[in-house]
């Protein structure tokens, strides 16, 4: 009886090791730096990560199908540029501008999705193409110069007296997508397709539509993340989001998602994104220069993934 209880506890710990890593990291950070666990710093992390977390969630749904979307970073640039241009040059209400930016993101996502689902491209290849197309488009529409956004528009998203809307939106999105994954037939089918697409098709499900849709979702969430960044910087730029696709993939993997598809969780992916965020944050606080930061970050990703692999193995033999 006690033994089986122990096993149960052990399994719980293994299943939730992403949270454990995050907690551990949090404690270590608090010890390493006095400024880490202050309201100011925590708020900064939340503001910075609102965007990347959305991108990671978008990436997760693509990864769940066994695909990958390298275009998320470039689509962020689309979101940032489009929204900035609309409020500056066309004086469109900022909410309308955001909506149009999200639509633009969706178009790019669905474009990738069509290539993957209907033209049998591998996600890697299709999104590689979309990545350069989107980035190029962002540079073309902004003429390659950052677009300054006037006050009273997108900056509303980051105002303290509005309770930092981007943080609230990010939290709402986390909850929404966690529920969607667990409670909707769509979420269920996406995972099923990642496990065995052929079986799902033979069960009478149009797999191509679902496959296309996950890239659309990733596009929308990435564009929204781009808008967040534009709002924080008061500038829309075509250089936004460079390299963000790699952080998003890393977040999914640290969160226990399988790149082969069929396995992964929204909240754990968010924890994965926060692990990366804390690593970056503590190194900034300790004034580690940027290039060594990248090296250290790479090794920490390896360590986190190794832990996943090791615990997954022991999970199987238990």
């Amino acid at each position: 009886m006690d033994k089986s209880k122990m096993k149960c506890v052990k399994k719980k710990l293994i299943d939730n090791n992403t949270y454990l890593i995050l907690l551990l990291l949090f404690i270590v950070c608090s010890i390493l730096s006095d400024t880490f666990f202050t309201a100011m710093n925590i708020r900064n992390i939340a503001l910075q990560q609102s965007g990347p977390i959305l991108v990671a969630i978008g990436m997760l749904f693509v990864v769940l199908t066994g695909g990958i979307d390298l275009s998320v970073g470039s689509v962020m640039a689309i979101g940032a540029s489009v929204s900035a241009i609309l409020v500056r040059d066309y004086q469109i209400n900022f909410l309308g501008a955001i909506l149009i930016a999200l639509l633009a993101g969706m178009v790019f996502g669905i474009f990738t999705g069509i290539l993957v689902a209907y033209a049998d491209f591998q996600g890697f290849v299709a999104s590689l193409a979309t990545m350069t197309i989107a980035r190029g488009t962002a540079f073309v529409i902004t003429n390659g110069t950052p677009i300054k956004i006037q006050e009273g528009t997108l900056d509303n998203l980051v105002k303290a007296n509005n309770f930092f809307p981007i943080i609230i939106i990010a939290i709402a999105a986390i909850i929404l997508f966690a529920l969607i994954q667990h409670y909707t037939a769509w979420g269920r089918t996406v995972i099923a397709i990642g496990s065995n697409r052929m079986a799902v098709r033979l069960a009478g499900i149009r797999t191509k539509r679902y496959l296309m849709s996950v890239y659309g979702v990733a596009g929308v969430l990435s564009a929204l993340a781009g808008v967040f960044i534009a709002a924080r910087a008061s500038t829309g730029s075509a250089t936004v989001g460079q390299g963000q696709e790699l952080d998003a993939i890393a977040a999914c993997v640290i969160g226990g998602a399988s790149l082969a598809g069929g396995k992964g969780f929204v909240v754990k992916t968010v924890a994965g994104a926060l692990v990366l965020a804390l690593i970056g944050n503590i190194m900034n606080l300790m004034a580690v220069p940027s290039y060594p930061q990248d090296i250290i970050k790479g090794f920490i990703i390896i360590a986190a993934v190794l832990l996943q692999i090791v615990t997954n193995k022991s999970d199987k033999t238990v």
Binding site: T184, A192, R201, L202
Partner: protein
């Protein structure tokens, strides 16, 4: 010293978590013997063989080879001791040539570079020894038939000087003639002193081939008997505790109206001018050799493959299913032959697998799943068809073959299908689970479902079907009513003699 045994496994015990998969099981194999290992799925055959081949570690017990105790802690240990396993799924690289595959672990034995001439010679010599000079060592393995791939796998073992070869269900994927060829090879290996452990669910084969038979049941050792001193009936009762006459249960189905009518169907290169009908409550068999176009016919009707021409009438209406979704939407289900690749999501829960085809029965208008209702449905459904499982949240691959098949089948029961294709429904399923699957089919027929059963097992066709269509080379070569279904007629139509 153990006298005269090539291999002795003694008191082997193995746990998986709290489950005892093997409980003091023993197995003794003589040199140059064909030893059959039988038992229902889940009896522990595979686990025992995985311990022998180093894939699993035993918890307790000893293994002796030529009387000396050995430690097998990895597949490499087993290989070095001359033990080889030929699994159902071959361990071949399809894009490499026959020669490369045969020498895969010694590609560059003489230095850093590959000596292609040497590889080809090793492969060619070994193939010739088995009498397969027709296989060119330079062909890609992926281009060979399944039967030839199996030969390559056997050659691979032999060039490593294996003198103990385990065959795990080798005939499941072979045709009649190929099986004969395989048996010839196995007998020749035996004559050369190789010890063979032969795992199969096909009792006829076991009697034809083996010298001794070891029976396992529920992870325990039942007995080892000489094949010549025992009958099929006794063997079955040792395995399951019931007799073979009870294998095909009776059914009281009323054969009613015509559900499905297919006329002059052509699809791809494998389906030529096929016509047939299925009635409600009827079990229609599809017999024939592997590759006769039976599966392809059903896939085309189901909308999984394209139809070139022909007419399909379903419940009196002409239909063209262009996607499986349309077929499933009108209550037409398809249980594919390869449950691992096409039937199940092995790494998802039993619950998700069960409701896959008709999740909308448990969702509301907003597409939101009612988990409580779903769980209740799944529990009732799986209990109704006697599925043995721990929790519905366990992954499908935690189940034995028979129970996996029941879960794959439950999907179509849940979808309220009125016509279901069963493609090789009992392949790789043990005797006990077979009968249970037959019972489920009978029950469905009694409820008025029209059933099409594709099967390469003649006993099953004879025992279950109301009517049989035999296919040969993409065409219907014969049709037999219940009274006329017998082995000779089936073979005659299947082979075209």
């Amino acid at each position: 010293m153990q006298d005269g045994y090539k291999i002795e496994m003694k008191d082997i015990t193995k746990h998986f978590g709290g489950v005892k998969a093997l409980n003091h099981v023993s197995l003794k194999i003589k040199k140059g013997e064909i030893h059959a290992l039988i038992g229902e799925n889940g009896a522990g055959k595979s686990t025992l063989m995985k311990i022998l081949s180093g894939a699993y570690q035993k918890d307790e017990g000893q293994i002796f080879i030529d009387g000396k105790e050995v430690k097998i802690t990895s597949p490499k240990d087993a290989k070095d001791l001359g033990i080889a396993v030929i699994y159902q799924e071959f361990m071949l690289a399809p894009d490499l040539t026959v020669a490369e595959n045969i020498s895969i672990d010694r590609l560059a034995a003489t230095g850093a570079l590959i000596d292609w001439r040497r590889l080809k010679k090793i492969a060619g010599d070994q193939l010739a020894k088995l009498g397969f000079n027709t296989i060119d060592p330079g062909t890609k393995v992926g281009n060979l038939s399944i039967a030839y791939q199996q030969i390559v796998e056997i050659c691979k073992c032999l060039t490593r000087n294996a003198d103990v070869i385990v065959f795990d269900e080798p005939t499941a994927v072979l045709t009649f003639t190929e099986i004969e060829k395989l048996f010839e090879i196995i007998r020749r290996l035996k004559a050369e002193g190789v010890s063979i452990i032969y795992i199969s669910h096909r009792l006829d084969e076991i009697f034809e081939l083996s010298d001794n038979i070891t029976v396992l049941k529920d992870g325990g050792y039942v007995d080892t008997v000489p094949a010549s001193s025992i009958t099929k009936e006794i063997l079955v009762s040792m395995m399951v505790g019931r007799t073979i006459t009870q294998m095909f249960p009776k059914r009281n189905a009323r054969i009613g109206e015509e559900i499905l009518k297919v006329e002059n169907l052509n699809a791809g290169t494998m389906v030529k001018d096929v016509s047939f009908t299925v009635r409600s409550g009827e079990i229609l068999g599809f017999s024939g050799l592997v590759g006769a176009g039976r599966t392809e016919t059903m896939r085309a009707v189901f909308g999984a493959d394209k139809i070139d021409s022909g007419k399909v009438t379903y419940f009196g209406k002409e239909v063209h299913f262009k996607h499986p979704k349309e077929a499933v939407g009108s209550g037409f289900g398809f249980l594919p032959e390869d449950r691992k690749k096409q039937g199940l999501l092995l790494e998802q829960s039993i619950r998700i697998n069960t409701t896959l085809a008709s999740i909308h029965k448990v969702t509301n208008k907003l597409d939101i799943i009612n988990h409580k209702r779903e769980k209740k449905y799944v529990r009732e459904l799986l209990e109704g068809i006697n599925t043995k499982y721990g929790s519905a949240e366990d992954n499908a691959d935690s189940l034995s073959g028979g129970n996996q098949q029941k879960v794959a089948l439950a999907k179509w029961v849940f979808a309220d299908c009125k016509c279901i294709v069963f493609d090789e429904p009992t392949r790789g399923v043990d005797v006990g689970a077979k009968t249970e699957i037959y019972k489920i089919m009978n029950k469905l027929a009694e409820e008025g479902v029209g059933i099409i059963m594709i099967s390469s097992e003649m006993t099953e066709i004879i025992g279950m079907c109301d009517r049989v269509i035999v296919m040969r080379q993409g065409r219907v070569s014969g049709e037999l009513n219940k009274e006329l279904i017998e082995e000779n007629a089936l073979i005659k139509y299947a082979m075209g003699v």
